[in-house]
């Protein structure tokens, strides 16, 4: 029997996509991720009326708390970090669905309590047996928690209800560990029920890459090696590692950022047109890109890494990486990584993709720059075009989301002189100032069961296959090169591009 809701109409686009009856169980309630991202996003969703009536949030942690204590934690985090204004009536509606289950990850009694709590919620609040388990905990505990969930019958999907699991990066630290991690999850949940959050994919600008490429006639014809000289993908942070030494040491910039965010961005820029925008078609195209990536032969000449040195950044005196609390003086973890990747397809043959990321760089910025070839012939005198460089199309992912096109223009005056100018499209200027946080979008997609924006384990594994040889190469090479804080990375990175006769953009 199929029942269609007579009040829903696919043409009725005013009605928001409200998730069906469901609840969420949050592991790792006290962590930064939960307090700064997940809880505020849930409130913002409720405030925008996108959560179903009766939505419930169960916290699970080793704390001696009652439901009210948990509600207080959520309240504080919402007050501090929510994007939308705080409204008492929304809070009341949400807070009724808060439950807290105290316990350890290996405490059978606690998971039994969790099961009863969920069953009660199904009864009392009509969550209908649909629950998402959000594992905001270190991956080392995934096995434990997922095993417990299965043992206590919490993962069974009966009578059309669903159970989903949500995990965050890192998805392993190399191919082997990524596979292990996936085996743990896949042993319990079907692959369509595992949602890996890469919050970059929830950003409007990132989704706009697909819209820009495939909804327009203007860009796609030049989107290939006939016109594109090379592509630079940058994610720079101005801060150091802060208090995350425990997480960061031994992981480093490449594992932390390139493996997931930058390779995903590269996929979206490089992929062929998908047959449709469902999860499966997108995954196929992204996988094709990842499996056509080839590393250059000489990794010593085509990669670069560094550690930030003590110095001054943005007017403040800052520590070097090796002086940060919790980092050993002998650490070889890189805080800057740059790699050259070739995509062996007809479209991209001979077009290198330069990916770089680093901490304590000049400013916080993420962008994709498509740099075009010079015009084959310039019918001007050499002096007229001295100031003209290459045309570029820059997708600014954050901050100041938007797009810039750089091209040559005549400088006003009697002499013919051509110089680079920029044409800007600012996302926030043309559309809503309140574009939702990536987490709102992604959590809603989890609850709706809409997976296009979540990387699958095939993509994760292919990404590690690209990165593993580079990491091994670096592992044999000793210490990374120190670079000045507040600048744009180590000298070796500049030399890496200079060898190809190119320079990094100053983002």
């Amino acid at each position: 029997m199929t029942w269609t809701n007579p009040l829903r109409d696919p043409e009725d686009r005013r009605l928001p996509r409200i998730a069906g009856p469901c609840g969420m169980v949050l592991f790792g309630v006290t962590g930064d991720l939960s307090r700064k991202k997940v809880m505020p996003a849930i409130y913002d969703l409720a405030n925008r009326g996108l959560l179903p009536p009766g939505f419930s949030l169960v916290g699970f942690a080793r704390r001696d708390w009652a439901d009210q204590d948990f509600a207080q934690i959520v309240h504080d985090s919402v007050k501090a970090h929510a994007r939308t204004e705080f409204r008492e009536e929304v809070w009341q509606q949400l807070a009724e669905g808060f439950r807290f289950v105290p316990g350890d990850f290996d405490d059978d009694a606690a998971f039994e309590r969790l099961r009863r709590t969920i069953e009660e919620l199904d009864q009392e609040r009509g969550t209908g047996g649909n629950h998402a388990f959000y594992l905001a905990i270190p991956p080392g505990f995934f096995g434990n928690v997922v095993g417990q969930l299965q043992e206590h019958g919490l993962t069974e999907q009966k009578d059309g209800s669903w159970r989903r699991v949500v995990v965050e990066k890192p998805f392993g630290h190399d191919l082997e560990s990524a596979r292990e991690l996936n085996n743990i999850l896949a042993g319990v949940f079907p692959s369509g029920s595992i949602f890996r959050i890469d919050h970059y994919l929830g950003k409007e600008t990132v989704q706009n890459i697909l819209a820009m490429r495939f909804a327009n006639e203007l860009f796609e014809p030049i989107w290939n090696s006939n016109y594109v000289d090379h592509v630079q993908i940058t994610m720079a942070e101005d801060i150091g590692i802060g208090g995350r030494a425990g997480y960061y040491d031994g992981i480093g910039a490449a594992r932390d950022v390139i493996q997931n965010h930058l390779l995903q961005l590269m996929c979206l820029v490089a992929m062929e047109e998908p047959t449709s925008f469902d999860a499966e078609s997108l995954r196929i195209e992204k996988q094709k890109v990842l499996s056509s990536v080839v590393l250059p032969r000489r990794l010593d000449l085509t990669t670069a890494r560094g550690q930030y040195a003590p110095g001054w950044a943005g007017g403040e005196k800052v520590n070097g990486f090796l002086e940060e609390e919790g980092i050993k003086k002998t650490s070889t973890t890189e805080t800057y990584a740059a790699v050259t990747l070739n995509v062996d397809t007809r479209r991209w043959a001979g077009v290198p993709f330069y990916l770089r990321t680093g901490k304590r760089l000049g400013r916080r910025v993420t962008e994709v720059a498509i740099v075009f070839k010079r015009a084959p012939h310039l019918p001007f005198s050499a002096t007229a075009t001295e100031e003209l460089t290459q045309n570029a199309l820059v997708i600014r992912v954050q901050p100041d989301e938007g797009m810039t096109i750089r091209f040559g223009s005549k400088v006003p005056g009697t002499a013919m002189e051509i110089r680079d100018v920029n044409m800007d499209f600012v996302y926030g200027g043309s559309f809503t100032e309140s574009s939702p946080e990536a987490y709102e979008r992604l959590i809603l997609d989890v609850l709706l069961g809409d997976p296009p924006l979540f990387p699958r384990h095939e993509e994760v594994e292919l990404s590690w296959k690209i990165l593993d040889p580079i990491l091994e190469h670096w592992g044999r090479k000793g210490k990374p090169e120190p670079y000045a804080s507040g600048g744009w990375g180590p000298e070796s990175a500049d030399k890496m591009l200079a060898r190809d006769g190119r320079v990094w953009r100053r983002p």
């Binding site: 009040l7 109409d9 009725d12 009605l15 179903p52 009536e89 609040r125």
Partner: protein, 303 residues
Amino acid sequence: MIELTDTNSAAIAAEFVRARTRAGSPAMGMVMTLIIVVDEDEAEQAMLAARAASHEHPARVLGVIIGDARGAGQVNAQVGTGAGWTGETALIRLKGEVVKHPESVVLPLLLPDSPVAIWWPCDPPQDPAADPLGALAQRRITDAAAAQRGRSRAIHQQCSAYAKGNTDLAWTRLTPWRALLAAALDQHPLKVTGAAISAERVSPSADLLAAWLADRLKVSVARSSSEGPGITEVVLETKEGPIRIARPDGRLATFTSPGRPDRPIALKRRDLPELLGEELRRLDEDDVYAATARRLSKMKVGS
């Protein structure tokens, strides 16, 4: 704000460019033109609402005040760019002969090749699509609840004059109600056997809601009057019992459904900028409103 007296469209357009240059950047980031046809008394409030809405949709906002038609034609305008947002505004006062030809003033001021929306904050024309200014726009927003003349009939008039691109804020106000009712049926996949709505005696939104429910559920919808504000209660009858959403205070509703305890639901009445923002988000035809309007125009006034 720059005052231009006894002026014309070209001078107003030139002032827009000067104002942008003064603000530091002559580049335009605006996505649409919003025309507001308004009385002198309502003008200030309407322009404020439009400015708030244009935070979400940076727009050139053209307020048009149609004055007395007697005497020689005169166009006066106040032109300015907004501090803190990328849009720009002009409040244009027409009097004399030109009152009969407002489109001649507005047409040269439309942004090139981008959508045009028009909003009548108070009394809309009987047939917005046939109005000379309305014909310039692809989105025509009326507000039957704010009509000063024949308020109880206003929404019926608008529905029977429905043309592609017309919409009414009474419909916009319903979105949260409709979303909640649809979500309620997601949770209780039951056949609805009857429906009832309580609302203020004159409530265009309640009329539209009744038409929508009747159209979608194929049941008759009972209407009863309450003190308000707005819609105060909607009940869907099912064989397992009623699904009821009651909102006595215009803020917090109680959601009652068969076999479940009552739950509070935030259902705040929204203010004008929010409504306008929603209306400007989609500029294509609203098929569901079209169907609802067709249904309502067949129903009797007050039924």
